[in-house]
Symmetry: C2
Subunit: 88 residues, 2 copies
């Protein structure tokens, strides 16, 4: 349940803000750690995709990455601007 | 906590399998529902990104999308092949 605990803690800390937000959680359950993680690279590409749909600055994005022997977790927290639709 | 409950239920049901897996959870907390959701479109693009890193067939991917007045949740569950690195 470590993943859930992790996600919960981030939810609680942001719950008081009445902004729209987008959270992306990527969890990779691994049976071995012989191969390097691709989550950091994946993160960059995910953000590029997100930016097609919402106007977000770097400041509005917080990223955390955690890793243990069983699982890697990438979490992106994005505070959306009040007008979320991308006009450009 | 509905999002956590949702995620937990999917975790439990898959816990007995000793496969590597990748879970992606996208949660969009909305302050209004005046605008159409972009998560279904986002889903397609996320899968395209994932496929750059892992060889996965359509069969290995399960997708669920839930929506209420406060939040939309997109969940992708991907069972990874034993040899997860993409060789092509």
């Amino acid at each position: 349940m470590s993943l859930l605990d992790y996600f919960r803690s981030s939810k609680v800390s942001s719950a008081s803000l009445a902004k729209e937000r987008l959270q992306i959680l990527v969890a990779h359950e691994r049976t071995s750690i012989n191969q390097p993680s691709y989550l950091p690279k994946l993160q960059k590409e995910l953000l590029e995709v997100i930016r097609k749909y919402v106007n977000v600055s770097e400041d509005a994005i917080s990223v955390s990455f955690e890793q243990d022997d069983k699982q890697e977790t990438l979490e992106l927290n994005i505070v959306l601007p009040d007008m979320q639709a991308k006009n450009s």
